[in-house]
Subunit: 376 residues, 2 copies
């Protein structure tokens, strides 16, 4: 695996690159659809390829560990074989879900004890175990086991937690070095910068993470409720410290505007449940702004769902029909809006890449941001 | 519109025909997927065409009348334009849903007053109104407004109800004659034989319906809980009376075995929610028997979903993956099983047609029936 930085924008810090994996090349900046339980909700695998043009998807370690479980995934020969997605997969470490979904959990230096949200059964994740699990799931990109602090977060808690995350990182790296790729293809580790919204902590964390010389680096603990200004300030600060020649992944972000702003700061990779979760609630993103498909105003609008959309659903289905489906809670409504939103996100980062390469990114971004924020 | 009877089997009463509509030719015997609210649940329109090979779908008048409502459908230019399905559509008359879904309803000679299951609002359907609504929805095949009696049904109630259904039929036919096709293409009326499970009533009803010389004829009031023997006895009896040169539609039937048995009696058209409803519960039909995808036995079975299946989902997805999706209540599980079941039903009637045309239907049916009934 290797990352080639192709071009850096002259007016912003936006970058265009290529992340080469054994499951194919990822052109950055990239958005990664979230496939929590080994499926991007409502979307067939061939639709991810043909209609959305996804280049890499996420799997959630916590969910996959509990269901279908490691025995099944290993029996299949890894997640790629299990779900039929033969392009790259990134897995989170399970930490975030343990904190946000589990009722009872206890964090110690050794690791995290938690209860399954399905059946209340007890489980224990350590940095070493998180690596082993992700090796078994078969992720191309494995995330370090960290603690994602909430917002707001007490300074002293954020500092102590960050230092533990740094110690856990060393254990993750040791475990990566002590184990081999499970299924014959390369698996690499991304460490995660923490430090809440505190500049000195973020600086310390970014410097520590940078010193490990990992394949790529991630920024965690953002998009957890903080104002956009904090998100941008921390992202810009951290991007200034992380090495330029390695891919940078901003976890859990965000809106289309967030993506463009953070691309301008030098972020290469994004993931977020927003396009799919909002889709299921009938909220779609377009190049002219957002639309709530439940609104009465679309009831008799027989024009295409999104005349500027890149997916076939945008021209085949009308606003009125999609509104009817969403109002009626029909599967097809969520299927259409999920394809639309993901195709829009992928088209947006693809356009950003073209603009970075041809030197028009900055002007294009300034033109897009106000449009993306409109409500249609 | 016209119906060409191409061939009748020599050993059974099975028939192969062609039903020509302004939206294309339907090769019979045919199964019609149910698209209750203008969408076959979990299935994209292009999947209906490309992966399932559906030739005609159903819409439910009751549901479409309440949501999105006639104003929207008429504004779109009819249901075909509204949902993007450009092949034939058949609508039921709304009667069945009024009886089965509505809480408060009152049947009089004039029609049926009922409450919406959405908001409790009151509505009144008459035979004339049912025709007008179906004209506006834009069905190629319009069903007469009837009363579908429950099972079991008191003889005297069944007799009175049947006579009312016959009087309503005359009003439906008058209304059809007094009105024109709404969108330029032909719309035809199918009357419905009733009479519960009483041979004398079924005989009288079939003779009455046959005398109207409609484009095609339907058998209603079956598949409402009666034993299969009653279903078969009534269907066989009625098929012996209905004119041979017109298509025969057995409403709401049924299992794959039901289809083959009733094809052998001379039925040309079927619809049923079973393939899609069961799919959403993880139950699939195959040429070797039925499978409950929730079963533990599939957890580690990484073979294709159905090696004999005709749709791409059968070879692309494994049993273990589909089990995981169904157990996890993921959209994609229902999407896959819905495509599978409908593709299986369509492949079954297509094979039946080939067998009828080449004279091997009877032997093939006898071989298939026991297999179809197995639980894998």
């Amino acid at each position: 695996m290797h990352f080639d930085l192709k071009h850096t924008d002259s007016k912003t810090k936006a970058r265009a690159g290529e992340l080469h994996t054994d499951h194919g090349v990822i052109e950055t900046p990239i958005f990664m659809p979230v496939g929590t339980a080994g499926t991007v909700k409502g979307v067939h695998q061939h639709e991810l390829k043909d209609d959305i043009a996804a280049q890499i998807i996420l799997g959630n370690t916590y969910h996959l560990f509990l269901r279908p479980g490691l025995e099944v995934i290993e029996g299949a020969g890894g997640l790629h074989k299990f779900n039929g997605w033969d392009r790259p997969i990134l897995t989170d470490s399970g930490g975030y879900q343990v904190y946000s979904l589990s009722g009872a959990r206890k964090i110690t230096e050794e690791g995290v004890k938690f209860q399954s949200h399905h059946d209340g059964s007890y489980h224990f994740f350590t940095p070493e175990r998180a690596i082993d699990i992700q090796r078994t799931i078969g992720a191309d990109i494995i995330m370090a086991f960290d603690e994602c602090t909430p917002y707001p977060c007490d300074y002293n808690y954020a500092k102590r937690s960050m230092h533990m995350t740094h110690r856990w990182l060393q254990r993750c790296m040791n475990q990566m070095n002590a184990t081999e790729s499970k299924y014959g293809y390369d698996q690499v580790l991304f460490p995660i910068v923490q430090g809440s919204t505190y500049k000195d902590l973020r600086t310390e964390s970014a410097e520590t993470i940078a010193s490990h010389n990992a394949f790529g680096n991630a920024i965690g603990g953002l998009s957890v409720g903080e104002p956009d200004e904090d998100l941008y300030e921390m992202t810009d600060l951290v991007c200034g410290i992380l090495p330029t020649e390695k891919p940078r992944y901003l976890m859990g972000v965000g809106t289309p505007q967030n993506l463009l702003e953070c691309i301008a700061m030098g972020v290469d990779m994004f993931d977020c449940v927003m396009p799919t979760r909002n889709a299921r609630h009938g909220l779609i993103f377009t190049s002219e702004g957002t639309m709530n498909m439940k609104n009465e105003k679309w009831a008799n609008d027989f024009t295409p769902l999104d005349p500027n959309g890149t997916s076939y659903v945008d021209s085949f289905y009308t606003k009125a029909y999609v509104r009817h489906l969403i109002k009626s809670k029909e599967y097809l409504g969520a299927q259409i809006t999920s394809i639309h939103n993901l195709a829009f996100y992928l088209a947006l980062v693809k356009e950003a890449r073209v603009r970075i390469l041809n030197g028009t990114f900055s002007a294009w971004k300034d033109e897009m941001i106000p449009k993306l924020g409109r409500r249609l």
